[in-house]
């Protein structure tokens, strides 16, 4: 089972100065980028998303509650940015205003073939999952968050997290079996 990535300063310190904040954010970058990829699915989009989210975090650092883990705060910022990005894309594509619930469930399932191929180059079987399945799987299996914590970050009920993780595992299993049969 995955080890929980604890937030250094959040665990050992209840206060944080600017340098500590920046240092911890840099330490988090690989994990933040991985989370961004689970949403954006392509490296360039994920990097743009991460850049925007980090800029926002630096601007709003005075609002960060240092008693809370920084990773969770950052994951929320990244996700909020992505929801806004999807809304803008849909408006640009002429679909008009999109209800929030539509965005949060299938954020990036409208991948083009090119995007899907790019995503497959980034990671393996998990890239075959939609963002709605890969996000809870990432947060729980790789990041070590509880269902409750993941549900809070994703703004979905705990039962939904449980169902999606199970569905993700079953789909991965299908993918594994298909690949084994091809070999």
């Amino acid at each position: 089972m995955a080890q929980r990535h604890f937030s250094r300063w959040a665990i050992f310190s209840e206060t944080m100065n600017a340098d500590q904040f920046k240092s911890e954010m840099i330490d988090l970058l690989p994990r933040l980028r991985r989370f961004a990829i689970s949403l954006a699915r392509t490296g360039p989009d994920a990097d743009d998303l991460l850049q925007d989210a980090c800029s926002t975090a630096l601007l709003k650092w005075g609002q960060y509650d240092s008693s809370q883990p920084l990773d969770r705060w950052m994951f929320r910022i990244i996700r909020n940015h992505w929801i806004s990005e999807i809304r803008k894309r849909k408006v640009r594509e002429g679909e008009g205003q999109v209800p929030a619930e539509d965005e949060t469930i299938e954020l990036s399932v409208q991948s083009t073939v090119v995007e899907k191929l790019a995503a497959q180059q980034i990671c393996q079987k998990v890239s075959s999952l939609g963002a709605d399945l890969s996000q809870p799987l990432l947060l729980v299996c790789a990041e070590g968050f509880s269902y409750k914590e993941a549900a809070e970050m994703l703004d979905v009920p705990i039962g939904t997290v449980m169902s999606r993780i199970h569905r993700a595992r079953k789909l991965l299993l299908t993918e594994i079996n298909v690949q084994e049969n091809l070999q």
């Binding site: 944080m16 970058l29 994990r31 980028r33 609002q63 929801i83 806004s84 990671c123 595992r169 079953k170």
Partner: protein, 258 residues
């Protein structure tokens, strides 16, 4: 395999079952070969996912991003754990002010007086417009967000004050477009934003002859809250539904970007 049982096995892997639920699963695993096979399959899928996710950590993060973070000029202050809010507005005021002060506005000095009052002058006129336009969905704006460059050029030249449309996505607000209105006999640029719940926020600005910047000032008419300020030869006001949004925080971002 029963789907509900498979789901509980999945939750068991994640350490989400306790007490009797966990004991029940453990008993089934010990006694039922099919259950053990399902568990093995789920563990295989889990291991595969973890291996894939682990690989992603090996991808180098963009150097420029790390450099941007390291060199960011943050105001040196020590963050403290959040205190229980004494009231929603003061939390928002503190956060917004912190953000406003961190960015700096070229000599703009906060003098400690955020004023709260009934809207007056051009802001009172803007409130009347907002009450009408905020109820529009299809005709919320004259020129849509797809023509951002045109909005900046058109409204900037009309009101006589150059501006850049602020990106307020960090506050959950999407730019929808702009319109031109008139208040106190002067043209006003009205930039419209909406949040995921359909709440409408407007950022309005008109040219100003004031030579000194004016700090944030709060006002409300009961239906809408307003945060106004002056800087760079323009008067600005952010308008949103009363008590529902962090208007001070939004104003802080807008003041930095506009």
């Amino acid at each position: 395999m029963n789907d509900d049982l498979s789901k509980r096995l999945s939750a068991y892997i994640d350490g989400e079952l306790e007490g009797e639920q966990a004991l029940e699963i453990e008993a089934l695993l010990a006694s039922d070969e099919a259950v053990q096979e399902e568990m093995d399959a789920l563990l295989l899928a889990d291991a595969s996912a973890q291996a894939d996710f682990e690989k992603e950590l090996d991808t180098p993060v963009p150097f420029d991003l790390a450099k941007m973070i390291m060199t960011a000029d943050l105001k040196e202050e020590t963050l403290q754990p959040a205190q229980k809010p004494r009231g929603p507005i003061w939390g928002a005021l503190a956060a917004g002010l912190a953000m406003f002060m961190i960015g700096g506005l070229g000599g703009y000095a906060y003098k400690g007086q955020i004023q709260s009052a009934e809207p007056k002058g051009w802001i009172a006129a803007i409130a009347e417009y907002h009450a009408v336009y905020a109820g529009q969905s299809r005709h919320l704006v004259e020129v849509s967000a797809e023509e951002t460059d045109h909005i900046e050029t058109w409204l900037g030249s009309t009101i006589g004050a150059e501006f850049i449309i602020p990106d307020l996505t960090a506050h959950g607000l999407t730019f929808e477009g702009g319109r031109l209105v008139v208040a106190n006999g002067k043209p006003v640029a009205q930039l419209m934003y909406t949040d995921v719940n359909g709440l409408v926020v407007a950022l309005c600005l008109q040219s100003s002859s004031k030579t000194a910047p004016a700090p944030f000032s709060e006002s409300t008419n009961g239906d809408f809250d307003f945060v106004s300020w002056s800087d760079d030869g323009a008067d600005h006001v952010i308008i949103g539904p009363s008590g529902q949004l962090d208007l001070i925080g939004i104003a802080g971002t807008a003041a930095l970007e506009i």
